[in-house]
Amino acid sequence: MHFSGLRVIREALTGHKGWKPLWRNPEPQPAYDYIIVGGGGHGLATAYYLAKTFGRARIAVLEKSWLGSGNIGRNTTIIRSNYLLPGNEPFYEFSMKLWEGLEQEFNFNAMVSQRGILNLCHTDAQRDAFRRRGNAMLLAGADAELLDREQVRAMAPFLNFDNARFPIKGGLLQRRAGTARHDGVAWGYARGADMRGVDLIQNCEVTGFRIDGGRISGVETTRGHIAAGKVGVAVAGSSSRVMAMAGMRLPIESHVLQAFVSEGLKPTIPGVITFGAGHFYVSQSDKGGLVFGGDIDGYNSYAQRGNLPVIEDVAEGGMALMPMIGRARLLRVWGGIMDMSMDGSPIIDRTPVEGLYLNAGWCYGGFKATPASGYAFAHLLATGRPHETASAYRLDRFARGHVIDEKGVGAQPNLH
């Protein structure tokens, strides 16, 4: 089934009777060459690129719940490549380039919208740091513009420029950044993988690994044993739990991050805007809801819901930055469990168990990474070598002292 404008018109004229389910619902086979554990954005993208770009076959994605039930369907949909460090920026810019061609690539509307991200600065020191970061972005082939106060005012006149404590001094703008429809991304990759023969197996939780002589030979699941040549784990907030079944401890704590959406409003926020003096960021969905968020709750959690103090804190940040938000009514609040890693950066690597690979530690920023993460993980699974943009994401970098710590806060996951 190919999607196109013509097809939409034809279906509209014939009562929408020609649409088909986007993927099959197959029974698990006894054995696969590649098993991907976790049917979130990263797992589905991995399976897609394994089949399409690397030409591999006999692939399954095992998802304990339904496809997209995890963080891929819970995030605030921001995509950007505005990182500082050399281990990160080329990877996120690679991801940004994949986003730019994604909808044509997998023939699905993921509502990729390059509406820009504006990070505000409130002190001279912050502006200097942004200048440095912007230059690092330009060096990696990304776009960056440093705006002064008046340029920010022209873009977003509703901000509180005269906040006595946190006056807005300017901002770092990445025009190519923006948002994408999170579910659409999962569905697009799922459909593309299924079309190329990947078995997407839902309600199938991995409960153990079968390891013979240091080599993986398959997985135990709630739907029985499935043999596999190679296994790639991409389970986001559950990485520690899943890898413990292979006898590994990870440099990760699981934390809850909350997200918020207001009632639908007329268009008011031009792109994504982030407060530089407190943790608050906001964008407006195409339906009109203000989508915003802030800090993680800050203690280990697998509860998939947060507590009131952070809601209050986020609301205070919003009021400090754009007092008009006080007039909007909050519609929904929800939480997702994420892997907070010890340096705030992810892991895409093999493990001490031969044939077992790990994609983890995405913190609160893994949605934007979805295309590149899938591509790089597929590259690693197919060729045994890291993708050139992901070569810093090694599991042993902590013991070696090669951490990638964007914020410079050290081994304290709740501060990243």
């Binding site: 520690s240 739990r241 413990a244 401890r249 990870l250 440099p251 990760i252 704590e253 699981s254 800050g298 203690y299 280990n300 959690s301 697998y302 509860a303 507590n307 103090p309 010890m342 902590f398 013991a399 081994a411 304290q412 996951p413 709740n414």
Partner: protein
């Protein structure tokens, strides 16, 4: 969340800052054989369990004591709290 402080009674968790797994009380011996590997593990690796977790909270806006709080990470239910000092004197957080 309310933390049952052993000296002060129920206190709002907002008065505290969170450090992490109470296993951090068991600092390796820097002079021992294999200290480098032991420290890499101590600093970076965590059990990160889903369920009962013993963890360090600092009563920053209170009496500035360190507590070991026992909490269920799947429900946020707090099961108990002790002074970290007492836990350490009893031999650590294992």
């Amino acid at each position: 969340m309310l933390i049952p402080h052993p000296l002060l009674g129920l206190r709002d968790a907002q008065e505290f800052t969170y450090l992490g797994d109470a296993a951090l009380l068991n600092r390796p011996d820097g002079m021992a054989e294999g200290a480098e590997a032991a420290f890499a593990e101590y600093v970076y690796l965590r059990d990160n369990p889903a369920g009962v977790h013993r963890e360090l909270w600092f009563h920053e806006q209170g009496d500035r004591s360190w507590l070991v709080v026992t909490r269920d990470t799947t429900t946020h239910e707090i099961l108990g709290a002790e002074l970290a000092r007492d836990v350490k004197l009893k031999g650590g957080a294992a």
